[in-house]
Amino acid sequence: MTDARKDIDQLIAKLAEQGYIASSAIATTLYIAQQLERPILIEGPPGVGKTELANATAAMLNKPMFRLQCYEGLDESKALYDWKYSKQLLYVQVLKEQLNEILDGADGLSNAVERLHNFDDIFYSERFLEPRPLLKALQSDNGAVLLIDEIDKADYEFESLLLEILADFKVTLPEIGTLAAVHKPLVILTSNNTRDLSDALKRRCLHLYIPFPEAKLESRIVQSRVPEVPDELRRQLVNFVHDVRKLDLKKQPAISETIDWARSLLLLHCDSLSRQLVDDTLNVLLKYEEDINMVGPELHSLIKRANSQL
């Protein structure tokens, strides 16, 4: 077994300790991201564990996590930095009071201006800087995990803003200059693929696609998250969800919904799937009325198959 293989297996085990069951591809990408100090762009349908991977990684590395939720109109003052305006205002007022002292003995306007020019101006300095998640992650003393969630919801302009950070872990503030990361953070971007991201952004990241998992893997995930679920019920509900995903639904049930459903079934103290039970709890799994209506007529055969599959 190669060293890399051992390290990756170790990574899988450590993530499992945090309750995240990672596939080999996920662990390999994470391992490479750490080795190459590259951001990871994770794509995949909603609810497959993209954001959760960032949480689990931060917990595993025992590092703080800074999360930036993207939305249309997000700009640098919310994502990168802003100024502490009230402090700056106080500074201006203090400066006014100190003006006589500063200009003491200055003859004429040009002299006064010269005196002001030599005065140490800290109005735009790091002292008055209000760091937002991106800058906080760069300035973190012991490294951090930076999660940029749903980057596809942000505007193209915001993508451009990220390029410098993703490439060099530096950021240029016009008033101050370039600030480099103290410790390069592990950056994870997630996208639900609602629009194409720019090639420039993709070039700077490692790419990971997380699809819906295989039944075996999903069963292990449910076992890890809801260990109290009996084995037989777990097998049945995972088989049922997998069959439901084959139907033409508006929204496929995600892993998070499988887990919620498992918890609901546990609350109802049942140990196997029955028609009545599924009927009553289907709204936990499916989020659209049309989907529930579509699955309704198929319930009998779906439950029968789920109970018989080994």
């Binding site: 077994m1 190669t2 890399a4 293989r5 990756i8 297996d9 899988i12 990672a22 596939s23 080999s24 591809a25 996920i26 390999t28 990408t29 490479i32 991201a33 080795q35 190459l36 590259r38 990871i40 762009l41 794509e43 100024w83 305006y85 009230s86 700056q88 205002l89 201006v92 193209y156 693929n193 629009r195 194409d196 720019s198 090639d199 993709k202 070039r203 490692l206 790419h207 990971l208 696609y209 997380i210 699809p211 819906f212 998992p213 295989e214 075996k216 893997l217 033409d248 508006k250």
Partner: protein, 481 residues
């Protein structure tokens, strides 16, 4: 320089993956980190830095499998690893996790594991050569590795990737063998036989045979890849210029990926900015109002902006027999452009105009098109009914921001033309475009009413090929920006 990796990247580029120099450097670091010994690991690692979209993943998987088949045939690898890589990562993961938990599973390339003649995974050619090597038990995996690397290096030296025709095989074989100093090897074998050292001579002979087999396989595979790629590129280029009406059904099925590619290019060129700052013009009122909290000191500065209104697009497509293929292409295009044409409503007609926008929201594009064709397609066009019902449906939605695109040949089988309805649309909308797939030489022949429709449209354009349609949409997007 890792010649194997560079060759692999060239193959990926040949298959449409856009791989930059920076990504190549990343891939080199990945290989340096992971090594070549565990194919599954290598595949996952390289995929993360070379395949940047879901489509890329699929191409990458196929290319990886095909390219590293040679090594699979020549190297000592775990036969399990030769299985076709699944595109589903979790399948892989599950398999690998299960295997890795079993002793020795998943780790390939163990030294001294014997001749490994069970290389059934490769194809016939590689099998032959692996048997040739394996059974002798003489070539250790390390030696086979170096043989393969030598051959790949020599192939790169003489630019094997430029091979195009089967008739060139002999020439390239000779070139590679010359680069491998084959004549010297032959001489050494002869000398060893002459000196009575039959054992050494036999080993050297076997090595040479392995080398020749590897050369043959490499040339055949390169030829296959190049032809595959060359013909694909040629076909794609030809399809863009070919009239759709003259296109076979088989080729029409290949249009969607080309359309998506063209649409992506158009979309990146025409990103709409809905708020445009008029740089340098301070919005004094807003700046003062927003800075009252700071004693009137303008910490926040606000610039005057102009808001660009989004255009509403209405697309009406004739899906009667004569032009249904074109309507399919236009609808595909419009859906692929949804990024830059957000407010688009699609209608189709043979007789009555029917809105199909919701179908595109509910189903994937290809599926939606199949449903539209099945439900509303086939039959002759009734332009009178179509345009009148279209006007009725969009009358209260039309304004100076609206752009109407109609695709049809204007052949209403001599029935009502619906020209009055079109004129009403023309007066109210910002732009009425009529795309006619027929060559303009055919306009006004037979039952074509296209000249009349010209009087109630801002522009009637011939869109006989994909490339022409792309140009038209490009111009349209420029207008709408």
């Amino acid at each position: 320089m890792d010649e194997t990796l560079l060759q692999f990247i060239r193959h990926l580029r040949n298959h449409g993956l856009a791989i930059s120099t920076a990504e190549t450097l990343d891939a080199m670091r990945v290989v340096a980190t992971l090594g070549y010994s565990d194919p599954r690991l290598l595949r996952d690692g390289l995929a993360s830095c070379l395949a940047k979209t879901v489509d890329d993943y699929n191409s990458f998987g196929e290319c990886f499998e095909r390219f590293f088949q040679l090594e699979a045939g020549v190297n000592t690898t775990d036969p399990d690893d030769q299985q076709r890589p699944e595109n589903d990562d979790t399948k892989e993961a599950q398999a690998s996790q299960n295997e890795d938990q079993t002793a020795g599973g998943g780790d390939a390339g163990g030294e001294g594991q014997g001749g490994d003649d069970g290389q059934g995974a490769g194809d016939g050619q590689s099998e032959g050569e692996s048997k040739g090597e394996g059974k002798g038990g003489s070539g250790s995996s390390g030696q086979r590795d170096s043989t393969l690397k030598d051959v790949i290096r020599a192939a790169a030296e003489i630019n094997l990737e430029k091979i195009q025709y089967r008739t060139q095989r002999g020439v390239y074989r000779r070139k590679i063998l010359t680069a491998l100093n084959d004549e010297q090897t032959l001489e050494d074998i002869k000398k060893l036989y002459d000196a009575g050292d039959d054992e050494k001579a036999h080993v050297l002979e076997q090595l040479r045979e392995g080398q020749i087999a590897a050369v043959k396989y490499l040339i055949d595979r390169q030829l296959l890849l190049n032809n595959d790629n060359a013909s694909k590129q040629l076909r794609d280029a030809t399809l863009q210029d070919t009239s759709l009406s003259a296109m076979e059904h088989y080729h029409r099925e290949r249009l969607p990926p080309i359309i998506r590619k063209l649409a992506k290019k158009l979309a990146s060129r025409h990103r709409q900015r809905h708020k445009r700052a008029r740089r340098g013009k301070l919005d004094l009122g807003k700046t003062l109002r927003r800075n009252i909290a700071y004693g009137g000191v303008p910490f926040h500065r606000f610039w005057k902006t102009t808001r660009k209104d989004k255009s509403d697009i209405f697309v009406l497509c004739d899906i009667s027999g004569s032009v249904s293929a074109w309507s399919r292409v236009l609808l595909l295009f419009v859906q692929a452009l949804s990024d830059v044409l957000p407010n688009t409503r699609s209608f189709v007609f043979c007789g009555q105009s029917i809105e199909v926008s919701d179908l595109f929201k509910q189903y994937p594009v290809d599926e939606a098109l199949a449903i539209i064709h099945q439900r509303h397609g086939l039959g002759g066009s009734d332009y009178g009914l179509a345009l009148n019902s279209f006007w009725t449906q969009i009358e209260d939605k039309l304004n100076r921001r609206s752009c109407v695109i109609i695709l049809g040949d204007g052949r209403g089988n001599g029935g009502d033309t619906g020209i009055e309805a079109l004129r009403s649309i023309y007066h109210r909308a910002r732009l009425v475009l009529w795309f006619n797939p027929e060559s303009h030489h055919s306009w006004n022949t037979g039952d074509s009413e296209i000249r009349r429709y010209q009087s109630a449209s801002h522009y009637v354009a011939e869109c006989g090929s994909l490339r022409k349609l792309e140009r038209l949409l490009d111009q349209l997007l420029s207008l709408l920006r």
